[in-house]
Amino acid sequence: MLHAILSDKTVRLTALALLALAAAGLMLPAWVVNNMMFGLARGAAVLGLLVLWRTGLMSFGHGLYFGLGAYAVALSEHWLGLSDFALRILAAILVAVVAGFALGFILRRYRDIFFAMLSLAFSMVLYGILVKTEALGSTDGFSVSQTTFLGWAPEGKQVLFTAIITVCLALAVLVQMYLRSTLGRLTTAIRDNEIRVEYLGYSVARAIHIKYVISAALAGGAGGMMAMALGQVDPDSMVYWTVSGELVFITIMAGPGSVLAPFIGAIIFEFLRTYAFEIAPHAWQLIVGGTLLLIIFFLPGGIWSLLERIPFFRRLRHD
């Protein structure tokens, strides 16, 4: 198993890229490190959408799990006083897995636009509940205190940045192993022909349910990381439908080609937004939207497909 992981070229490349990022973090200005943390966190949620997209499914409502993960971090602090990084991540993932598993029984019966919109509907319900409930912070949400590491509360953001990188690397490796497995390879097969999969003796509903829970777990962990990076959770920045929309946006921008693509795409998105905002504070959406249009027209495989023009990256796909 370990050998299979270490010999996988995508895994090696991802590890190398993230290590380089961690090293760079030591020298970069704080706002750049912040942006990269946001990008990495969002990238983990986009990785979850990639798992669905490979099977021809899309969710317009993964802000639901992103928000659940973020609120798991905030409420576990508020109610239980938790501030430890590992515990916060675990809480975020656990809450999302439980919710994804339960809703999965409904979602697994739908496809296409209904599948995509159902998650959105659930995320709107959560948004409504959060906004209306004083005990859950209402519209203001909660601030999230500094994250600790086994009791240690380090200065600055470097340690949190490195920890987030480590989690993203672990998630990317797990997803890569999953995509290489029989279950993961069922992606194209399910997209191509559900009837055949059934007649091979396997339940398509179950396969989709598993994929949905995996994607929920990733979005939950992502929300947890975002809460820690931002130091704040509130319904508008964690659950609102624009959060879900951004995830879909980045998924398409990044392309489905590799587990590394979501992180690259999300980091680029973060900087694109920052610069667009600086250039045109009132029309930054125009710049971001225009960029996506250009990508859809000229790079239908997303930013990753640009890298795949280089033979090394192209070969990864068949590794």
């Binding site: 029989t182 279950l183 390879r185 097969a189 191509d192 022909n193 007649y199 091979l200 003796g201 396997y202």
Partner: protein, 268 residues
């Protein structure tokens, strides 16, 4: 052959609104038999296969397979019992290569415990895949995408994928439809010899009477959702009702092999 039939269908009914697609179908099939199902377009042949393999729920009646009631169970559970099928319109993974199609099928059929979480292409699976491609004449097109295959090869792939689960009984819905006339016998020879070797019970739907005559032990003739004749081919193909309602030829047969040469008429 054992006394208990491998498949036993009692009083099977199915209606779609006003259309009766199956009416009082009663059939027992002993293990190892090769059964040919004939009937004009819309006679209810596919509906029968769909009900037996769990794709459609019958409106009435029971289906027993190896002594167990399997009426209305999900297709994948029928597959677990050893009952599977191929399709009138090939159901393969169109964007995957022939090899990937078979590997997916093999991986799903052989999954036990954590097998679904291991990489798909272990050496044993690859070897087994090669053997199947050789047996079904697919070696030359191994790397071709399924969407680029000829009708004949796609049908063979469809059948090969059904067979990897090691079924005890296989239902083939028009294995040679859409296939060039000169390819038909080659395909049937390939399929039937592979299935004979594994002792699989076979039921296939076929419009070409030459093929029916050549390969089956028994004919079931469908008309308007009913079985109007259940007999060995030598008798069934000269039965006046079958000739009129299925083969579409009212002339008196001149010899027991009269169906030969009627293939084109029957296929229309």
């Amino acid at each position: 052959m054992t006394d208990v039939p491998i498949l036993s269908v009692k009083d099977l009914q199915k209606s779609f609104g006003a259309v009766t697609a199956a009416k009082d179908i009663n059939v027992d099939i002993p293990a190892g038999q090769v059964v040919g199902v004939i009937g004009a377009n819309g006679a209810g042949k596919t509906t029968f296969v769909n009900m037996v393999t769990g794709y459609l729920k019958p409106s009435g009646g029971t289906i027993r397979f190896r002594g167990r009631d399997i009426t209305g169970i999900a297709p994948r559970l029928a597959v677990h019992q050893g009952l599977t099928r191929s399709f009138q319109v090939s159901q393969v993974f169109m964007t995957l290569s022939v090899r990937q199609n078979l590997l997916s099928a093999l991986a799903l059929a052989r999954r036990k415990g954590g097998a679904l979480l291991r990489p798909i292409a272990g050496p044993e699976l690859l070897a087994e895949c090669d053997a199947i491609m050789a047996r079904y004449g697919l070696t030359d097109v191994a790397e071709h995408e399924a969407s680029a295959l000829s009708q004949g090869s796609r049908k063979l792939l469809d059948i090969a994928m059904a067979v990897v689960s090691g079924p005890r009984m296989l239902l083939l819905d028009e294995p040679t439809s859409g296939v060039a006339a000169e390819e038909k016998f080659a395909i049937m020879d390939t399929v039937m010899s592979a299935l004979k070797a594994s002792g699989t019970t076979v039921l296939f739907i076929e419009h070409d009477m030459e093929i029916v005559e050549r390969y089956v032990d028994r004919v079931l003739a469908f008309f308007s959702g009913e079985v109007i004749c259940d007999a060995p081919p030598a008798r069934a193909l000269i039965d006046p009702k079958v000739r009129e309602l299925v083969i579409g030829d009212t002339r008196a047969p001149t010899a027991p092999t009269a169906a030969t040469g009627q293939a084109e008429a029957a296929y229309a």
